[in-house]
Symmetry: C2
Subunit: 161 residues, 2 copies
């Protein structure tokens, strides 16, 4: 019961962050998203692709089904490679992110406490026995924080009122 | 037991975020902190003052003791007022933030599960009976996410390697 309340708070935090992030992306035109968040730094385009790749990868880490576009990981996460990124268009990346976010929240809402406290796929059974905090909940917590970090940057592209 | 594991994960998330944020601030000279994170946006100076005020206010929200500099709230949170901000120097704000962070983690580590699940001071007993998620844990969760958002912005001041 207590655990359920706390887990729901964590999911609600994820949901609020998704709403803020999507709200900012929707406010920006595709031209605005092509701009760098600060001189010489990442573009909105890159950050949307980065979030899409990271959020799709949650399906794998939490064993929630197939990653739709596993090929996004290399250019947008593992190795920031401009040529690899430029194969994608911003509409494609926005849709990938939005679809991942929509499906993830449905999956999260259907999960039981025991499942949340089970290991994620990046930790072995042996290590998990010693480190029970490396559970599925830790993925949502860390990815919420990660999303907030980059949302603070995306917000810099929104013209001042 | 389950609740304790989850609460510890949330505290660990706060602690990791504090470490990242402090690490970035320490990397920056006072001159770098005076710069805006992007043209026409908040300065590092402002963001350090904003985080100091918000983190000091956690003492009040969680009933953990006196707020050391309650006068920071007005210029750095409630009403962004340049004149009010310029009374403070960056060293003062950095120290205020660091001291708040250090004391908060000590307080967090001493709290029991029941205390984490008790209401924060911004919600009445009546409302809390209907909305048990408005507990002290929700403050740490939301302030971790808030800190990450602004840390993504502060990181833009660190010169590229």
């Amino acid at each position: 019961m207590e655990s359920k309340i706390i887990i729901n708070q964590i999911i609600a935090g994820w949901q609020r962050q998704v709403a803020q992030t999507q709200g900012i992306i929707e406010k920006l035109s595709n031209e605005q998203l092509q701009q760098d968040v600060a001189p010489g730094r990442n573009s909105g385009f890159y950050l949307v692709g980065h979030l899409a790749a990271v959020h799709e990868n949650i399906f794998k880490l939490m064993d929630l089904g197939e990653v739709k576009h596993p090929e996004l990981m290399k250019p947008f996460v593992l190795k920031a490679d401009k040529n690899g990124q430029e194969q994608y268009d911003i509409e494609f990346l926005k849709t990938a992110l939005q679809e991942a976010n929509t499906t993830l929240i449905e999956k999260f809402q259907a999960m039981e406490v025991a499942e949340w406290l089970s290991r994620h796929t990046n930790v072995s059974e042996e290590d998990f026995a010693k480190e029970p905090h490396r559970n599925k909940l830790s993925i949502v917590l860390s990815r919420t924080i990660h999303m907030a970090y980059h949302t603070g940057q995306l917000a810099l592209l929104v013209p001042k009122a």
